[in-house]
């Protein structure tokens, strides 16, 4: 399927950039969600749930999301926003804002663990998408 991975996780980029279309976001988790929202508003469709993992937003700094381009309309206009994707990304951003602010994680071992778990959850989505 023609899809791309939106991620701020460098381990995900490293693992998939040779075989998949990866759009790397050099930013925080919320930047990934907002980038996804903007893409969705311009017709992109979510393929994986933006809230995956029980590691809560504001706890993990990483997020990876699968999206595909929407189909342009017959009259040449860009694809309309997919209502389900709009709803899910909106709920995800609301959920993110609900959690208390925490200091940024800087411990490299911890960052590695967060990246490994994010990558594991992403892999399970990619495995389904690539079937």
């Amino acid at each position: 399927m023609n899809y791309y991975i939106l991620t701020n996780n460098s381990q995900a980029k490293e693992e998939f950039e040779q075989t998949h279309n990866v759009r790397f976001v050099d930013g925080k988790l919320i930047d990934v969600l907002i980038t996804a929202r903007d893409l969705i508003n311009n017709g992109a469709v979510l393929l994986s749930h933006p809230l995956y993992g029980s590691v809560k937003p504001n706890e993990t700094p990483y997020r990876s999301i699968l999206l595909r381009e929407g189909k342009p309309q017959a009259d040449g206009l860009p694809a309309p926003a997919d209502p389900e994707s709009v709803r899910l990304i909106g709920n995800a951003i609301s959920a993110f804002e609900k959690f208390i602010d925490k200091k940024e994680v800087t411990d490299p071992r911890l960052l590695d663990d967060f990246q490994v778990v994010d990558l594991s959850l992403l892999r399970s989505a990619v495995e389904s998408a690539d079937l």
């Binding site: 809230l51 029980s54 609900k98 967060f114 490994v116 778990v117 594991s120 892999r123 399970s124």
Partner: protein, 426 residues
């Protein structure tokens, strides 16, 4: 399918030279259990410890909690796919050591959580402060990756639980419960006037530390299927997930599922308990659609009148929960959903990340964001090194006086979505 569950009430655990059960006391020689753990070359060492209700002990980070059981009659063995072959279990006779648990603890990833306090405020929230806990902390070999370590500790827990369970062989049960469901036709004929009720059990299936297994299969890979509710009692469903700890189902809760227990208590009286339907909670949206479609179809094909749906986890699974609820209701089958809430520390925020008008009968397991202060305890089994990094904790978690300010999220089983905990609301 008919299962007799013989219960042996364990009143104390002691380390001793000989491993045995005598007059309700479990005597354990750790040297008998060590080789069972170390048969996996990925584990370098293991330390056993005992935590008893009321003691000033904190176990953290908790990975899994397991009840020792052994099959003494009928097909197969406990934990099929792991410590036994994959025979269909859930019939015959099984012995269970009640009042105790095997707890696997120790750090796998740095943000891992899961606290069991054996006394104080925290003990009020975790069901496992009431069990005598035989704890095992495994040390991995140098350089072992997180995935491999998780699998090694998970499987070691099942092996130890099965080994301890074997001590019940040949013993007389203190109490025996019988659980029996009928085939479809037989059930209709036997209980023609009772509503046909099923139990939809949603299993967390997303990846590392977020997985559940059925008969040795990663439940991400299943399509929803029907099971006899007694199969879970023999360990057919086991846990590979522990973050966030408050609303993840340790293996112990699958073995002692309170929804199944309560439905059996009403079976033949107010309802006809037909079956358990298991489904998953994958991250890929098409998987969610497929699984909820299949679950709704099964409910319809089984001619159910109503189902109880239990969720596992928060956020992403809220979408599966609502999909299941909407689609099952659309088939004309009534639903009651069981969940917990992330309603913010003040309890004023939206509780779920998804919602629908069809979800008009909801049972809550409590607000996972509620803040509690846990006292400093004398002894820690595991480590407190990472306590500031865990879900529901913050930089201020570990206070100078040794107390911990945390959200309920960190406490194992605190807002359990099968109703195994103590919290709810009316």
């Amino acid at each position: 399918m008919r299962l007799e569950l013989g219960k042996i009430n364990i009143t104390d655990i002691q380390f001793a030279k000989e491993s045995k059960i005598d007059k309700g006391v479990l005597y354990i020689n750790p040297d008998d259990l060590k080789p069972v753990v170390l048969e996996d070359e990925k584990i370098k060492d293991v330390v056993f410890d005992i935590a008893k209700p009321g003691e000033s002990v904190r176990i953290t980070p908790v990975k899994d909690v397991i009840e020792p059981r052994v099959k003494v009659e009928g097909k197969g063995g406990v934990f099929p796919g792991w410590t036994s072959k994959v025979d269909t279990v859930g019939s015959g006779k099984t012995m269970a050591l009640k009042g105790m648990a095997i707890v696997t603890a120790g750090k796998i990833v740095g943000f891992q959580e899961g606290i069991i306090d054996m006394c104080g405020v925290g003990a009020q929230y975790t069901p496992f402060s009431k069990t005598l806990n035989l704890c095992m902390v495994c040390e991995p070999v140098e350089g072992l990756k997180q995935h491999d370590y998780e699998a090694a500790v998970r499987k070691a827990g099942f092996r130890v639980a099965a080994k301890v369970g074997e001590l019940a062989k040949g013993l007389e049960a203190d109490e025996t419960c019988v659980y029996e469901t009928q085939g479809i036709k037989e059930g209709i004929e036997k209980y023609p006037d009772l509503p046909r009720v099923g139990y939809v059990s949603m299993l967390q299936t997303q990846g590392l530390l977020h997985d559940t297994y059925v008969y040795g299969v990663d439940a991400k890979k299943i399509i929803p299927t029907i099971m006899s509710p007694t199969e879970a009692m023999d360990g057919a469903i086991v846990s590979g997930n522990c973050v966030s700890a408050c609303d993840k189902n340790p293996t112990y809760i699958h073995q002692n599922n309170p929804v199944i227990e309560d439905l059996f208590a009403q079976h033949g009286k107010t309802l006809n308990f037909v079956c358990q339907i298991i489904t998953n909670e994958n991250v890929y949206l098409a998987d969610k659609e497929r699984s909820s479609n299949m679950t709704a179809k099964l409910c319809r094909m089984l001619d159910l009148d109503g189902v109880i749906v239990t969720q596992e986890g928060f956020g992403n699974p809220d979408t599966d929960l609502i999909m299941n609820c909407k689609k099952i209701e659309a088939e004309g089958v009534k639903t009651v959903i069981v969940t917990d809430e992330y309603a913010g520390r003040d309890g004023k925020s939206q509780s779920l990340a998804d919602a629908d008008a069809a979800a008009d009968a909801v049972v809550t397991g409590g607000n996972a964001n509620e803040v509690v202060v846990l006292p400093k305890l004398d002894k820690v089994i595991g480590t407190l090194d990472y306590v500031n990094k865990i879900a529901g904790a913050s930089e201020d978690t570990l206070r100078p006086d040794g107390t911990l300010e945390v959200e309920l999220q960190v406490i194992t089983g605190a807002t359990n979505e099968m109703g195994f905990g103590v919290l709810s609301a009316r």
